[in-house]
């Protein structure tokens, strides 16, 4: 029987796990994925890991937080958190997001409408721990107690005091990474309280004040990108070498010239891919090269670090890193004298470099930026390329990356493309701005932690998997090959993890890929199929 959590359970006994993971509590999946005995066993922490690391939240560790050495260390972090809390609420230190944060903290009516909109909360079987409001309300009460004048007495009298101790701190840190920052809660809230923003600001506090951040986002993420060019670890020479190999390989296999331009000064467009696609979904990179060339576009990639990798993990956890990477991207575009930056199929890149960057880029750094959806739509309907939609005659559905669709409102251009080029295109339910997150948003897609992938495939990705199965319910089984169009690398990586975990390719014939590949697959000029059915 699932127990209800109290808010101040977060501060109880740091050595005890707050919530036990129980597969039976989760939202059921349709057959053949409803038999838990046929699914991989969920990975747990080893005894050695449990002794060395903190896992007192839900049995999963996204962050591999080491056990504190002594009480002094615990107190130090508590002090830092309070200092960080004060900075987060001051204009001098948080000019970026202070206003929406204060509004969200002040005006929540605690109606819980947001919880019912949250894919994590619903998939978990309505576990209180994953309510958007659980962590937000704890956060509010900590502010009331430790920041507001007379807070210690006031909260004691009101009965709302929560102790900020190691238990609270370590649990809140992990809990901040059980949210995909997708904004479905904020969109549903009748007064636009943004629990995802509160969660993200909590992550920022941990990172900028305590130096706590997932290594995949920080040390091997933004730091690596600013150092050598990309969180993938690819230096410029490696990225260029890989793309050159793809050019040669596909020129040979397709029988048309595939050639990617680099560092072309004065080009109209600087295309900014998520460099991870070069390694994980190379057909996406090749597809853009083919389309830009076939449409006669004057375009280029950049080999100056980090100009060949449009990711900006700072968006997920740290304003300083966010600003540094945005600035570098704009400086590179300015130096190359391009007229416009165009995004690749990467969701968070769109939000970081189009919207958030608007507040950071001034003067000649404020170079025009365009999204990938309208860019691809313009190519498809330009009349410059001949298409035969019959080449895409297989079931196709569309996942809506949160940062492009819900957060930026870019809904229709990609649909016009798919309706034209995919005769068996069908929407999933719900879709558009009401669609659910893939479960990999907010940077979670690239965080494997200790056993975090199993949480993502079981909990945060659960509803998305269900939506996909339901969208293809008319053609189930592995005999009919089915394509989920996903214009975002992090979403594709999460879906790949989900499909691998459940055996979706073997059992249902489902794979995912970008939109650019579907467009190239329909080109009349290319005689061989571009999309090869292997996963």
């Amino acid at each position: 029987m699932k127990k209800h959590l109290k808010l101040n359970d977060i501060s109880k006994d740091a050595s005890i796990q707050l919530n036990e993971f129980n597969l039976d509590e989760l939202m059921p999946l349709p057959p053949p994925y409803d038999k838990s005995e046929e699914l991989p066993v969920v990975k747990r922490l080893t005894t050695e890991q449990q002794a060395r690391l903190v896992s007192n939240l839900d049995g999963f560790s996204a962050l591999a937080l080491p056990q504190p050495k002594n009480k002094e260390e615990e107190s130090k972090y508590v002090r830092q958190f309070i200092s960080g809390l004060k900075k987060l609420l001051s204009k001098e230190n948080n000019w970026t997001f202070l206003q929406p944060l204060l509004l969200s903290l002040e005006y929540c009516a605690r109606c819980q409408t947001c919880s019912d909109a949250c894919h994590v909360y619903l998939a978990s079987g309505k576990n209180d721990l994953y309510r958007p409001t659980y962590r937000a309300e704890i956060f509010r009460r900590l502010i009331d107690k430790y920041v507001k004048r007379g807070g210690k007495l006031a909260t004691k009298l009101k009965g709302t005091d929560i102790e900020l101790n190691w238990a609270t701190l370590s649990r809140l840190y992990e809990l901040a990474y059980r949210c995909n920052l997708c904004r479905r809660c904020a969109q549903t809230c009748p007064i636009s309280v943004d629990n995802a923003l509160i969660t993200r600001e909590l992550r920022k506090l941990f990172s900028q004040e305590l130096g706590w951040a997932p290594k995949e986002l920080h040390e091997k993420g933004t730091v690596l990108q600013l150092d050598i060019g990309s969180p993938t670890g690819m230096r410029p020479a490696v990225a260029m070498d890989n793309v050159k190999f793809l050019d040669e390989d596909f020129t040979e296999s397709l029988g048309i010239k595939v050639e990617t331009p680099w560092d072309k000064e004065g080009a109209d467009i600087l295309l900014l891919h998520s460099a991870g696609d070069i390694l994980s979904f190379p057909e996406s990179i090749v597809a853009f090269t083919i389309l830009c060339n076939a449409a006669g576009i004057n375009w280029t990639l950049s080999s100056e670090a980090p100009g060949y990798d449009g990711v900006n993990y700072g968006l997920f956890y740290d304003d300083v890193q966010l600003a540094r990477i945005v600035t570098r991207h704009a400086q590179i575009a300015r130096k190359l004298k391009v007229k416009k930056i165009v995004m690749g199929e990467c969701g968070h890149e769109h939000k970081a470099l189009i919207t958030v960057a608007d507040r950071l880029l001034t003067g000649d750094l404020n170079i025009p930026r365009q999204d990938a959806m309208t860019f691809l739509e313009d190519i498809v309907f330009s009349g410059k390329i001949k298409f035969d939609p019959a080449k895409n005659d297989f079931p196709v559905t569309l996942h809506d990356p949160c940062n492009i669709v819900r957060n930026l409102g870019i809904v229709e251009p990609q649909r016009r493309v798919l309706r034209y080029l995919c005769p068996q295109f069908r929407e999933m339910t719900p879709h558009g701005v009401d669609n659910y997150c893939c479960g990999g948003g907010g940077g979670l897609s690239v965080i494997s932690g200790v056993n975090f992938t199993d949480w993502k495939t079981n909990v945060s990705g659960r509803i998305k998997f269900k939506q996909i199965l339901e969208a293809f319910a008319d053609r189930p089984g592995p005999g009919v090959k089915k394509y989920v169009a996903v214009p975002c690398l992090n979403c594709k990586l999460q879906l790949r993890d989900i499909f691998k975990y459940y055996g979706a390719w073997e059992k249902s014939g489902i794979r995912c890929g970008g939109i650019a590949e579907l467009i190239v697959n329909a080109m009349v000029e290319i005689k061989k199929p571009f999309i090869t059915w292997s996963e």
Partner: protein, 62 residues
Amino acid sequence: MAKMELAGQMLEVDEHGFMQETDKWNEDVARAYALKEDVKELTSDHWKALNYLRSYYLANGI
């Protein structure tokens, strides 16, 4: 930092068991890893792939 015993040494590894001090690698370490994957003997094809990947990594960092 986690540790794992490989070829008689305690080596630093990440939470997924990957070596962190790449200069401590030697062929015995490779054999110890292979045993963990139920590969009892490394053939010349194995070594070809291993050595290629290792030298690419040492040259390019990835």
